[in-house]
Amino acid sequence: MLRSVHFERSAAARYIGAAAAVLAALGIRLALDEVLSRHSPYLVFVLAIIVAARFGGRGPALSATALSVLAAWYFVVEPRRSFAIADPGALAGLAWFAVVGSLVSLLVGRLRRALLDSVRREEFIRHLFESMEEGFALLETIHDAAGKPCDFRYLAVNPAFGRLTGREVEAVVGRRVREVFPDIEPFWIEAYNRVVKTGVAERIGGYRAGLGKFLEASARRSGPGQLAAVVRDVTARHKAEEEIRTLNATLERRVEERTAQLLDANRELEAFSYSVSHDLRAPLRSVDGFARILLRDYPGKPLDEIGAGYLNRMSAASQRMGQLIADLLELARISRLELSPRTVDLSAMALWVLDDLRNRDLDRTVDIRIQPGLAARADERMLRVALTNLFGNAWKFTGKTAAPSIAFGAAPADAAESAGRGAPAAAAESAGRDAPVYFVRDNGAGFDMANAQKLFAPFQRFHAEEEFEGTGIGLATVQRIVRRHGGRIWAESQPGLGATFYFTLGGD
């Protein structure tokens, strides 16, 4: 719009120009007096008026007309160099010229205005075309030999279109779409064809694999066989939408997971409170029961061996209850404790724990094998509790084995999986492919795999109290520790042949 001002000369220049044109015409008229006088006395002035109208517009042209009439009157009409009139016919001719000159001024002035307007409009459109953010393409249908539309030719594209498609504007205009973009998805051409055929504007969106962008085109028919398309890059929007979708999906999954975890926790809690009520009552019942037997059977009598046995049982029951409470507190503590992971030397920790067990039970000889150099990111205190429980179990359940052995090491995930069969394999997989699987293996009493799912529930015991003592909370504690590290624990065993406990410590 602004640039069109250049075509609009200043008013003074236009009027001076008009006067100059009339002066020039007068000069020519006087120079060619002989030739022009007879047939077209005012022709040169008419040309001057046309020139003034074309370049100056209506106002300067009318001025030029007036000036021409005066100049002709004074210099051309006899007697010359005077405004006197000799021939009345000459006056009519002069008047006629004035009328014609005015008409020409108006006509050519309007013509000039229209021309200027159209130039201005074109300027405006061109400016718009070149400065718009959206790509613009004017296309023309190309028909194949059978007369079917098969492609489009670019009649015009704007710089934004070039930027959008990574092509030079000059390399696009005049060429066919499939020639410029050989990899274009057919649906674009089909949609363009539809628009040209039906005249119904369409918005087409999709991925342009060749450009790696999501584009959206608003196409409308701009003439017979012609199409104007405004093309936008909507990749960012698409990505944002994609992100929202992913986010939503993630959120949904998280809610599901959390719900499942909550349900799990709830079930665990139920089982836990059930077991607590059951297991804490048992020692109380013993104490109360044997106390009453003693009161009944030994009124005022010294205790014999049987009575002392009852007292021993009461004492043991009290101790068992103390141990139960201690274990329960430990389990509760593990659940509450803040996880503070650091790099832990698992091999050294295993050695320490097993040394401790050995020192407390010096009569036993156990073959111990610990894989050196095992390290993991974990909470040291918690992991020590876990290893103490696992090795404590291994130590305990090898108590009746002829040549007891305990091993600790790490196995590649797939090896543990193939050994694990079924559910353990799934557990290993969900724990993350790269997470090492640690194992604690013993050749002790083992257990029946049919009951494996109960293994980690609190208070679940697999052996009669008289065979192997324990509260049944140890493995529940280990499981909680492993889970708090984002890991999984599972076991495999055969009665009489020993047990192997596998665990991971989360993703890394």
Partner: protein, 144 residues
């Protein structure tokens, strides 16, 4: 009179002693066989495993079954003996400290003939067992 056996399935030795004491004090003179876990109980009843030589035609007159057992739990033992023709006529009494409604419901659902909480107070325990012992071994007509 040839008194038939009572099968006591109990892993806790204290509870076993207390139960035996209660039975004797309640006047029950039947011999009592004690097994310590669910698997052993099933072995005994079906005369298999370590009880392979047992005369399976002589079944106990009553099973006193603790719910909380190592390995195969009491509920599972109950389910198996009550779904097997060889054993489902044997009266089964569940002995446990549990008072959960779900437990009671499941026990009867699995065919328990009676359900008795092991009360912490010995007198009530004694009473319950004495009642049971008398009832099942002396009063009740055995289905045969």
């Amino acid at each position: 009179m040839d008194l038939r056996t009572i099968l006591l399935v109990e892993d806790n030795q204290d509870d076993e002693l207390l139960t035996l004491d209660a039975l004797r004090n309640g006047g029950v003179t039947n011999p009592v066989t004690v097994v310590r876990d669910g698997a052993k109980a099933l072995d005994y009843l079906f005369a298999q495993g370590s009880f392979a030589g047992r005369d399976a035609s002589r079944q106990p007159c009553v099973i006193l079954l603790d719910l909380k057992l190592p390995g195969i739990g009491g509920m599972e033992v109950l389910r198996r003996i009550k779904t097997d023709d060889r054993t489902r006529r044997i009266p089964a009494v569940v002995l446990t400290t549990s008072s959960e409604h779900e437990d009671i419901h499941n026990c009867y659902g699995n065919g328990a003939n009676s359900y008795v909480r092991k009360p912490v107070e010995f007198d009530r325990f004694l009473e319950a067992v004495r009642y049971l012992g008398l009832y099942w071994t002396l009063v009740n007509e055995r289905a045969s």
